[in-house]
Protein backbone atom coordinates (compact mmCIF):
# COMPACT_ATOMS: atom_id res chain seq x y z
CA UNK A 1 0.00 0.00 0.00
CA UNK A 2 1.64 3.20 -1.18
CA UNK A 3 -0.12 6.14 0.39
CA UNK A 4 0.40 9.85 -0.15
CA UNK A 5 -0.97 12.79 1.82
CA UNK A 6 -1.73 15.98 -0.09
CA UNK A 7 -0.77 19.20 1.65
CA UNK A 8 -2.68 22.39 0.87
CA UNK A 9 -1.91 25.80 2.35
CA UNK A 10 -3.93 25.72 5.58
CA UNK A 11 -4.08 21.93 6.01
CA UNK A 12 -3.31 21.12 9.64
CA UNK A 13 -4.17 17.45 10.19
CA UNK A 14 -1.59 16.03 7.82
CA UNK A 15 0.64 14.98 10.74
CA UNK A 16 -2.16 12.88 12.24
CA UNK A 17 -2.91 11.34 8.85
CA UNK A 18 0.76 10.49 8.29
CA UNK A 19 0.95 8.87 11.73
CA UNK A 20 -2.16 6.75 11.19
CA UNK A 21 -1.01 5.61 7.75
CA UNK A 22 2.49 4.86 9.01
CA UNK A 23 1.08 2.81 11.87
CA UNK A 24 -1.06 0.76 9.47
CA UNK A 25 1.29 0.40 6.51
CA UNK A 26 4.66 0.40 8.28
CA UNK A 27 5.85 3.06 5.84
CA UNK A 28 5.84 6.83 6.15
CA UNK A 29 3.54 8.19 3.42
CA UNK A 30 4.94 10.80 1.09
CA UNK A 31 3.62 14.34 1.44
CA UNK A 32 2.59 15.84 -1.91
CA UNK A 33 2.32 19.63 -2.31
CA UNK A 34 -0.91 20.92 -3.87
CA UNK A 35 0.88 22.66 -6.74
CA UNK A 36 2.28 19.38 -8.09
CA UNK A 37 0.59 18.14 -11.25
CA UNK A 38 1.33 14.43 -10.83
CA UNK A 39 1.08 11.88 -8.06
CA UNK A 40 4.17 9.75 -7.31
CA UNK A 41 4.30 6.64 -9.51
CA UNK A 42 2.59 3.63 -7.97
CA UNK A 43 0.32 5.63 -5.64
CA UNK A 44 -2.48 3.40 -4.26
CA UNK A 45 -4.14 5.81 -1.82
CA UNK A 46 -4.42 9.59 -1.80
CA UNK A 47 -5.41 11.08 1.54
CA UNK A 48 -6.71 14.66 1.71
CA UNK A 49 -6.28 15.69 5.34
CA UNK A 50 -8.30 17.98 7.57
CA UNK A 51 -7.62 21.62 8.24
CA UNK A 52 -8.62 24.95 6.78
CA UNK A 53 -7.25 24.97 3.25
CA UNK A 54 -7.03 28.54 1.96
CA UNK A 55 -8.46 29.71 5.27
CA UNK A 56 -11.88 28.36 4.26
CA UNK A 57 -12.13 31.44 2.04
CA UNK A 58 -15.03 31.59 -0.44
CA UNK A 59 -16.42 28.17 0.65
CA UNK A 60 -14.73 25.37 2.58
CA UNK A 61 -12.60 23.37 0.17
CA UNK A 62 -13.60 25.47 -2.85
CA UNK A 63 -10.15 26.71 -3.83
CA UNK A 64 -8.32 23.51 -2.85
CA UNK A 65 -10.86 21.49 -4.86
CA UNK A 66 -9.54 23.26 -7.97
CA UNK A 67 -5.82 23.07 -7.10
CA UNK A 68 -3.36 21.71 -9.68
CA UNK A 69 -2.90 18.35 -7.92
CA UNK A 70 -6.66 17.71 -8.00
CA UNK A 71 -6.60 16.92 -11.74
CA UNK A 72 -4.17 14.10 -10.91
CA UNK A 73 -6.36 13.01 -7.98
CA UNK A 74 -9.45 12.95 -10.24
CA UNK A 75 -7.55 10.88 -12.82
CA UNK A 76 -6.35 8.52 -10.05
CA UNK A 77 -9.94 8.07 -8.83
CA UNK A 78 -11.21 7.53 -12.38
CA UNK A 79 -8.68 4.69 -12.74
CA UNK A 80 -10.13 3.11 -9.60
CA UNK A 81 -7.39 4.40 -7.27
CA UNK A 82 -8.29 4.97 -3.63
CA UNK A 83 -8.99 8.45 -2.27
CA UNK A 84 -9.83 9.29 1.33
CA UNK A 85 -10.89 12.79 2.33
CA UNK A 86 -11.24 13.56 6.02
CA UNK A 87 -13.04 16.67 7.29
CA UNK A 88 -11.70 19.50 5.09
CA UNK A 89 -10.63 16.68 2.75
CA UNK A 90 -14.30 15.67 2.43
CA UNK A 91 -15.24 19.27 1.66
CA UNK A 92 -12.49 19.36 -0.97
CA UNK A 93 -13.78 16.13 -2.58
CA UNK A 94 -17.29 17.61 -2.82
CA UNK A 95 -16.05 20.94 -4.21
CA UNK A 96 -13.67 19.12 -6.55
CA UNK A 97 -16.47 17.07 -8.09
CA UNK A 98 -15.26 13.69 -6.77
CA UNK A 99 -18.27 13.27 -4.50
CA UNK A 100 -21.79 14.67 -4.83
CA UNK A 101 -23.40 17.19 -2.49
CA UNK A 102 -21.96 19.89 -0.30
CA UNK A 103 -21.01 20.49 3.34
CA UNK A 104 -22.96 23.47 4.66
CA UNK A 105 -22.64 25.41 7.91
CA UNK A 106 -23.62 23.37 10.99
CA UNK A 107 -27.28 23.89 11.72
CA UNK A 108 -26.63 25.60 15.06
CA UNK A 109 -23.80 27.70 13.54
CA UNK A 110 -21.26 26.51 16.10
CA UNK A 111 -17.90 24.90 15.47
CA UNK A 112 -18.23 21.48 17.10
CA UNK A 113 -15.22 19.70 18.62
CA UNK A 114 -16.15 16.59 20.57
CA UNK A 115 -16.26 12.81 20.62
CA UNK A 116 -19.00 11.34 18.45
CA UNK A 117 -20.43 7.88 17.85
CA UNK A 118 -20.84 6.63 14.30
CA UNK A 119 -22.58 3.65 12.83
CA UNK A 120 -20.61 1.76 10.19
CA UNK A 121 -23.19 1.35 7.41
CA UNK A 122 -21.34 -1.22 5.33
CA UNK A 123 -18.33 -3.37 6.10
CA UNK A 124 -17.75 -4.69 2.60
CA UNK A 125 -15.63 -1.83 1.26
CA UNK A 126 -11.88 -1.48 1.11
CA UNK A 127 -12.16 1.25 3.76
CA UNK A 128 -14.30 -0.57 6.32
CA UNK A 129 -13.70 -4.32 6.02
CA UNK A 130 -12.00 -4.45 9.44
CA UNK A 131 -15.31 -3.34 10.99
CA UNK A 132 -18.61 -5.18 11.12
CA UNK A 133 -21.84 -3.88 9.58
CA UNK A 134 -23.73 -1.63 12.03
CA UNK A 135 -20.74 -1.53 14.40
CA UNK A 136 -20.78 1.53 16.63
CA UNK A 137 -17.47 3.34 16.80
CA UNK A 138 -16.41 6.39 18.77
CA UNK A 139 -14.23 8.95 17.01
CA UNK A 140 -13.69 12.71 17.12
CA UNK A 141 -15.42 15.44 15.14
CA UNK A 142 -14.11 18.97 14.74
CA UNK A 143 -15.85 21.10 12.15
CA UNK A 144 -17.96 24.19 11.53
CA UNK A 145 -19.26 23.12 8.12
CA UNK A 146 -20.22 19.46 8.32
CA UNK A 147 -23.90 19.63 7.49
CA UNK A 148 -24.15 17.32 4.48
CA UNK A 149 -26.74 18.44 1.95
CA UNK A 150 -27.63 17.21 -1.51
CA UNK A 151 -30.73 17.28 -3.69
CA UNK A 152 -33.39 14.63 -3.03
CA UNK A 153 -32.45 12.60 -6.07
CA UNK A 154 -28.79 12.40 -5.01
CA UNK A 155 -29.73 11.38 -1.46
CA UNK A 156 -32.04 8.71 -2.85
CA UNK A 157 -29.25 7.41 -5.07
CA UNK A 158 -26.69 7.38 -2.22
CA UNK A 159 -29.09 5.50 0.03
CA UNK A 160 -30.29 3.11 -2.67
CA UNK A 161 -26.79 2.22 -3.83
CA UNK A 162 -25.39 1.67 -0.34
CA UNK A 163 -23.06 4.64 -0.62
CA UNK A 164 -23.60 6.03 2.88
CA UNK A 165 -20.42 5.04 4.73
CA UNK A 166 -21.12 6.27 8.26
CA UNK A 167 -24.02 7.84 10.13
CA UNK A 168 -23.95 9.93 13.29
CA UNK A 169 -25.61 8.05 16.16
CA UNK A 170 -25.63 7.84 19.94
CA UNK A 171 -23.69 5.30 22.01
CA UNK A 172 -26.46 2.74 21.46
CA UNK A 173 -26.45 3.20 17.71
CA UNK A 174 -29.67 5.20 17.56
CA UNK A 175 -29.60 7.82 14.82
CA UNK A 176 -31.45 11.12 14.64
CA UNK A 177 -32.38 13.86 17.09
CA UNK A 178 -29.56 15.03 19.33
CA UNK A 179 -27.25 12.30 18.01
CA UNK A 180 -26.97 14.33 14.80
CA UNK A 181 -24.47 17.07 15.68
CA UNK A 182 -24.69 19.27 12.59
CA UNK A 183 -28.02 18.79 10.81
CA UNK A 184 -26.71 16.48 8.05
CA UNK A 185 -29.40 14.99 5.83
CA UNK A 186 -30.19 11.42 6.97
CA UNK A 187 -27.46 11.73 9.66
CA UNK A 188 -24.82 11.22 6.96
CA UNK A 189 -21.24 11.46 8.27
CA UNK A 190 -19.48 10.01 5.24
CA UNK A 191 -20.19 8.84 1.69
CA UNK A 192 -18.61 6.78 -1.07
CA UNK A 193 -18.26 7.45 -4.78
CA UNK A 194 -20.27 5.23 -7.12
CA UNK A 195 -17.42 2.69 -7.36
CA UNK A 196 -16.76 3.01 -3.62
CA UNK A 197 -13.08 3.78 -4.18
CA UNK A 198 -13.48 7.37 -2.92
CA UNK A 199 -14.56 8.00 0.66
CA UNK A 200 -15.26 11.39 2.20
CA UNK A 201 -16.06 11.73 5.88
CA UNK A 202 -16.29 14.58 8.39
CA UNK A 203 -15.16 12.65 11.52
CA UNK A 204 -11.49 12.02 12.30
CA UNK A 205 -10.62 8.30 12.47
CA UNK A 206 -6.92 9.23 12.28
CA UNK A 207 -7.15 10.76 15.76
CA UNK A 208 -8.41 7.58 17.42
CA UNK A 209 -5.63 5.10 16.76
CA UNK A 210 -3.83 5.19 20.11
CA UNK A 211 -5.23 4.17 23.54
CA UNK A 212 -3.25 7.09 24.97
CA UNK A 213 -5.73 9.57 23.49
CA UNK A 214 -8.89 7.78 24.49
CA UNK A 215 -9.64 5.06 21.98
CA UNK A 216 -8.59 3.12 18.92
CA UNK A 217 -11.91 2.91 17.08
CA UNK A 218 -10.45 4.82 14.14
CA UNK A 219 -7.68 2.29 13.57
CA UNK A 220 -10.05 -0.12 11.82
CA UNK A 221 -10.29 2.16 8.82
CA UNK A 222 -6.52 2.18 8.30
CA UNK A 223 -6.28 -1.55 9.01
CA UNK A 224 -8.96 -2.11 6.36
CA UNK A 225 -6.86 -0.27 3.79
CA UNK A 226 -3.85 -2.54 4.24
CA UNK A 227 -5.85 -5.77 4.50
CA UNK A 228 -5.74 -6.19 0.72
Amino acid sequence: MKAVVVLFPGSNREGDAVRALEMATGKKPQIVWHAETELPAGTDLVLLPGGFSYGDYLRCGAIAGRAAIMDAVRAHAARGGLVLGICNGFQILCEGGLLPGVLMRNKDLRFICKMQHLRVECADTVFTRAYTKNQIIKVAIAHGEGNYEADDETIKRLEGDGRVAFRYCDDKGVVGGLANPNGSTNDIAGIYSDKRNVLGMMPHPENLIDPLVGGIDGAGLFKSLVAA
Partner: protein
Protein backbone atom coordinates in the same frame (compact mmCIF):
# COMPACT_ATOMS: atom_id res chain seq x y z
CA UNK B 1 -14.79 47.46 -17.16
CA UNK B 2 -16.34 46.62 -13.82
CA UNK B 3 -18.69 43.83 -12.93
CA UNK B 4 -20.61 42.65 -9.93
CA UNK B 5 -21.35 38.98 -9.31
CA UNK B 6 -24.00 38.09 -6.78
CA UNK B 7 -24.12 34.54 -5.41
CA UNK B 8 -27.20 33.43 -3.51
CA UNK B 9 -28.40 30.14 -2.08
CA UNK B 10 -30.97 28.26 -4.12
CA UNK B 11 -34.50 28.14 -2.84
CA UNK B 12 -35.00 25.36 -0.33
CA UNK B 13 -31.36 25.16 0.75
CA UNK B 14 -31.11 25.54 4.51
CA UNK B 15 -29.41 28.83 5.41
CA UNK B 16 -28.70 28.86 9.14
CA UNK B 17 -26.82 32.17 8.90
CA UNK B 18 -29.74 33.84 7.17
CA UNK B 19 -32.06 32.38 9.81
CA UNK B 20 -29.87 33.76 12.62
CA UNK B 21 -29.82 37.22 11.00
CA UNK B 22 -33.57 37.06 10.51
CA UNK B 23 -34.00 36.19 14.20
CA UNK B 24 -31.69 39.03 15.22
CA UNK B 25 -33.56 41.59 13.12
CA UNK B 26 -36.82 40.48 14.66
CA UNK B 27 -35.35 40.65 18.16
CA UNK B 28 -34.19 44.24 17.44
CA UNK B 29 -37.83 45.14 16.86
CA UNK B 30 -37.48 45.67 13.11
CA UNK B 31 -41.01 44.83 12.12
CA UNK B 32 -42.11 43.34 8.83
CA UNK B 33 -39.13 41.05 8.11
CA UNK B 34 -40.52 37.80 6.74
CA UNK B 35 -37.27 36.06 5.96
CA UNK B 36 -33.55 36.64 5.31
CA UNK B 37 -31.23 34.72 3.00
CA UNK B 38 -27.53 35.53 3.09
CA UNK B 39 -25.42 35.67 -0.07
CA UNK B 40 -22.11 36.98 -1.39
CA UNK B 41 -21.15 39.89 -3.65
CA UNK B 42 -17.96 40.01 -5.72
CA UNK B 43 -16.87 43.31 -7.32
CA UNK B 44 -14.58 42.45 -10.18
CA UNK B 45 -12.44 44.68 -12.40
CA UNK B 46 -11.84 43.37 -15.89
CA UNK B 47 -9.12 44.30 -18.36
CA UNK B 48 -11.40 43.80 -21.36
CA UNK B 49 -13.69 46.51 -22.69
CA UNK B 50 -15.69 44.03 -24.75
CA UNK B 51 -19.03 43.32 -23.15
CA UNK B 52 -19.63 39.95 -24.80
CA UNK B 53 -16.14 38.77 -23.87
CA UNK B 54 -16.70 39.96 -20.29
CA UNK B 55 -19.92 37.97 -20.05
CA UNK B 56 -18.22 34.79 -21.24
CA UNK B 57 -15.34 35.29 -18.81
CA UNK B 58 -17.60 36.00 -15.84
CA UNK B 59 -19.80 32.99 -16.53
CA UNK B 60 -16.69 30.81 -16.57
CA UNK B 61 -15.51 32.38 -13.28
CA UNK B 62 -18.89 31.66 -11.67
CA UNK B 63 -19.14 28.10 -12.94
CA UNK B 64 -15.54 27.24 -12.12
CA UNK B 65 -15.14 28.85 -8.72
CA UNK B 66 -17.36 31.65 -7.46
CA UNK B 67 -20.56 29.63 -7.08
CA UNK B 68 -21.14 26.04 -6.04
CA UNK B 69 -23.97 25.38 -8.43
CA UNK B 70 -25.16 22.41 -6.35
CA UNK B 71 -26.59 24.86 -3.83
CA UNK B 72 -26.01 28.35 -5.23
CA UNK B 73 -27.27 30.56 -8.03
CA UNK B 74 -25.29 33.44 -9.48
CA UNK B 75 -26.10 36.66 -11.26
CA UNK B 76 -23.68 38.72 -13.31
CA UNK B 77 -24.03 42.46 -13.82
CA UNK B 78 -21.65 44.51 -15.92
CA UNK B 79 -21.62 48.05 -14.51
Amino acid sequence: MKARVTVTLKTGVLDPQGKAIEGALKSFGIAGVDSVRQGKVFDIELSTQDRAQAEVLLKAACEKLLANTVVENYRVEIV
